[in-house]
């Protein structure tokens, strides 16, 4: 049998795997298994807020990310690479910077937020809607990035054939491109949802922390760590388990 893996690569890969796994094992060791049910039951509000916020944020990110992805995949215009960089920015920005930027623009004293407040009496900070916007902001790039890759893999021949048969651009997008990109879009949805679920920094900065309104699971974990560390371990375990489950299930779907 020939070895496919050079030994030095195998060693480094092993170290890399350890770096990823050791913290998870540490978490498993510290989780108070007997109190797990109680800790989870005591955090019903955070679970509910997280579910609502992550699902709505994913919907926003998909609704806006797919058109953006189409623009980036099919468009050919000046400033396209700058646009792409802008779209991807939230992936590399520290979440707290995203939160500060959201406050600066959509806060009560920001240009857009001030207008919303004056015209409609809407203020976003400290509301569930604010938490949804914070999560959408960080999830949107993931959906866009993956969907763009999906659209790039769509055969243009079919679209051209459809065009010669009289299909307009909307029909070509909806009936030809979109169905072919479904596996990639599914991946984008899952990644975006996972990112929205895990959002912390932008949420606490922009939407604040109030149980039942803006306190998502990651925020609850942060505050539990200071009050009841064991409960923080329990809640962390839920997030790890849910994320792992969804990523594995989704991987199976789109690699089929």
């Amino acid at each position: 049998m020939t070895r496919v893996m050079p030994r030095r690569l195998a060693v480094l890969a092993g170290i890399g795997l350890a770096l990823l796994l050791v913290p998870l094992v540490g978490l498993l060791v510290r989780v108070p298994w007997t109190g797990l049910g109680g800790d989870i039951a005591g955090s019903g509000d955070a679970v509910r807020v997280s579910a609502v916020v992550s699902v709505l944020a994913t919907a926003v990110a998909v609704g806006l990310g797919i058109p953006l992805a189409w623009l980036l995949a099919r468009g050919s215009f000046r400033g396209q690479s700058l646009l792409r960089a802008t779209v991807l920015l939230p992936i590399v920005l520290p979440a707290v910077v995203s939160g500060v930027a959201l406050l600066a623009s959509l806060g009560r004293t920001g240009p857009i937020g001030g207008l919303l407040d004056d015209l409609f009496g809407i203020t976003l900070p400290f509301t569930t809607a604010g938490a949804v916007i914070a999560a959408s902001f960080v999830a949107l790039p993931f959906v866009t990035l993956v969907a763009e890759a999906g659209f790039r893999g769509v055969s243009r021949d079919l679209e051209e054939v459809a065009a010669t048969l009289g299909a307009g651009p909307w029909r070509r997008f909806r009936r030809i491109a979109l169905p072919q990109a479904v596996p990639a879009l599914a991946a984008g949805v899952v990644l975006g949802w996972a990112r929205a679920l895990g959002e912390f920094g932008a949420t606490v900065t922009f939407a604040g922390n109030l149980s039942g309104r803006t306190q998502t699971l990651p925020l609850a974990i942060f505050f539990e760590l200071e009050r009841d560390p064991e409960a923080a371990f329990s809640l962390s375990l839920i997030l790890v388990a849910v994320s792992l489950l969804v990523l594995t299930a989704a991987r199976r779907t789109w690699s089929r």
Partner: protein, 234 residues
């Protein structure tokens, strides 16, 4: 490569000579601790600033702190229970709470009872942090129910939300409202708790004698004058 590692080691081990201490500092004490460190003069002091409850968690997990300054008795007692202190924490500074509002007090807030107005956006420190504990205790004594828009992770982030204009009012330390971007509204002394700051040297310090000396320095008149000058008083 070896030479590079050696150079790194020299840098990491400090410049040698003068003793150096790392002082874990409660965030509301940041500026005062800076001044105190300069006045001490016997060792070079680095501050590691965090919420008191975060400092306790750091010590629990073995952070290499020499001295710790926390903002309430709960966190001091937590430290005591960990069995890592050279001796019991001592009280070295006092503070009170105050209402922080936008500069000029546009909502004309005059006291705690005004904070019950549901149309105001009020932010408070979370009950997990010392300022939040004191706040909850005070509101209960005063019989005022506040529906907070957010329970912030630190007293400094309460202050930030008011400086940014996102909240109409919040409860912070009296020493916090002497800063830019906010105005302070006083709270009557009969409901306003006197808050205490605790200091202790850690057994795990690289220089326990120097750490103990710094803690002792905090109660000298030189240190007390600095604290009083910054508004830390009963």
């Amino acid at each position: 490569m070896k030479r590079l590692l050696l150079a790194l080691l020299v840098i990491l081990s400090g410049c040698g000579g003068e003793s150096s201490l790392i002082v874990g500092t409660a965030s509301s004490m940041t500026e005062a601790a800076d001044d105190l460190a300069t006045a001490f003069g016997e060792a070079s002091i680095e501050l590691s600033v965090a919420g008191s409850q975060v400092l306790v968690a750091q010590v629990r997990e073995g952070a290499p702190l020499d001295v710790i300054l926390t903002a309430d008795e709960t966190t001091a007692a937590d430290l005591s229970r960990l069995g890592v202190l050279v001796s019991e924490p001592i009280v070295f500074a006092w503070n009170r709470l105050a209402i922080a509002v936008a500069p000029g007090n546009p909502q004309a807030i005059t006291g705690l009872s005004d904070l019950a107005d549901p149309d105001l956006i009020i932010v408070l420190a979370a009950p997990e942090v010392p300022a939040g504990r004191y706040t909850a205790q005070m509101l209960e004594t005063a019989g005022v129910t506040v529906s907070a828009a957010s329970l912030e992770p630190s007293v400094r982030s309460v202050l930030a939300k008011i400086q940014l204009g996102e909240a109409d009012a919040g409860i912070v330390y009296r020493t916090d409202v002497n800063r830019g971007g906010v105005s302070g509204v006083e709270i009557a002394d009969d409901v306003n708790p006197v808050t205490e700051y605790f200091a202790a040297a850690l057994k795990t310090s690289s220089d326990p004698a120097m750490a103990t000396a710094f803690v002792a320095f905090l109660t000298t008149s030189a240190a007390q004058d600095i604290l009083a000058g910054l508004g830390f008083s009963q």
